[in-house]
Symmetry: C2
Subunit: 192 residues, 2 copies
């Protein structure tokens, strides 16, 4: 089981955004949609052993975390709008501090990174980290930021976490997830 | 300079599709939009040395090819809708058999794979190919299919082309492009 968590610093934490304008009205919700796609999709299949957490920090209500479980999810297509619709559905239900089901394989709760840090031993995907191809073991939980750097408060929370890089270029979060998957796929199948 | 060409077997060859329904009304235009994103985007920058060709085979008019040049392109954001809008704009102008500019860095012409084959020495991205990490030199022009296999006619055209695989899993075309870029980035910067 591998988990990817993505922080959406500007992403709306309620469902009042338009699927016709995910970048603007959703607060760069398009980035989170692409990260969800990269986490879960194989060609004509889903990666059943993956969990993807999206942390929505952009208000207007306090932070929420939406969890997607590859083994249970239904009604998700690869396009951004499909992912956006599922996120929107999750954000529309009333929630407390425990995960509540919003759809098969999709659940949501109040809270963000601080709570996730008490549950997972994160490795940070960061272009200044050590090369993931040289890692003896691939970590089980990765944390990524959207198009913005981690905030000072977040950096304080994660300062003890190991950092891994997928390559020398500064790339989008969803592209980094795809490269981690490639490394995992190769190791699982005995490719070097 | 590296070029990625993606065949959209069902993708509309005129601009009469809705940006609100790229998968349905566009004939899986969402796939081509993600391939364009994977080809051209770095974090907060574009890959200037890349050309991306999208081949639209889904009718209702004969096949067209839209060409995107990373060094010239403007007005492209990473979200699918932005890419879809630029493709739609290109498909809306009248064209002949020579590339005609539709927007900065975007041009379009009639014709598809057969014409491209006379201009480029393609390597095919295919899960049955040889491992790209073992390639002595990374090819300069890659050909990919969308969610469908190459047709019999296409297979006949490309039967002499070398085939490369990016890994053991059967993945989406845009994810494969991202992994090729990772291999190129690593070699360019002396990472193994």
């Amino acid at each position: 089981m591998t988990a990817f968590t993505v922080i959406g610093h500007l992403s709306h934490s309620d469902g009042a955004f338009s699927l016709n304008d995910l970048p603007g009205s959703g607060g760069r919700m398009d980035i989170l949609c692409r990260c969800l796609n990269a986490s879960l999709f194989l060609s004509h299949d889903m990666r059943r052993d993956i969990i993807c957490y999206l942390v929505l920090c952009g208000g207007p209500v306090p932070q929420k975390t939406v969890r997607f479980s590859g083994d249970l999810i239904r009604s998700l297509s690869p396009d951004e709008r499909s992912a956006g619709a599922l996120i929107k559905k999750a954000l529309d239900i009333p929630v407390g501090s425990e995960f509540r089901d919003a759809a098969p394989g999709v659940s949501v709760r109040k809270g963000g990174l601080a709570q996730l840090m008490t549950e997972q031993a994160f490795a940070i995907l960061d272009e200044k980290g050590i090369d993931i191809r040289t890692a003896e073991v691939i970590p089980e939980a990765f944390l990524l930021s959207d198009h913005l750097n981690f905030t000072d408060d977040e950096e304080l929370l994660i300062k003890q976490c190991p950092r891994y890089s997928v390559g020398p270029a500064c790339i989008h979060a969803d592209h980094a997830i795809t490269i981690v998957h490639n490394e995992l796929d190769r190791r699982r199948h005995g490719w070097k």
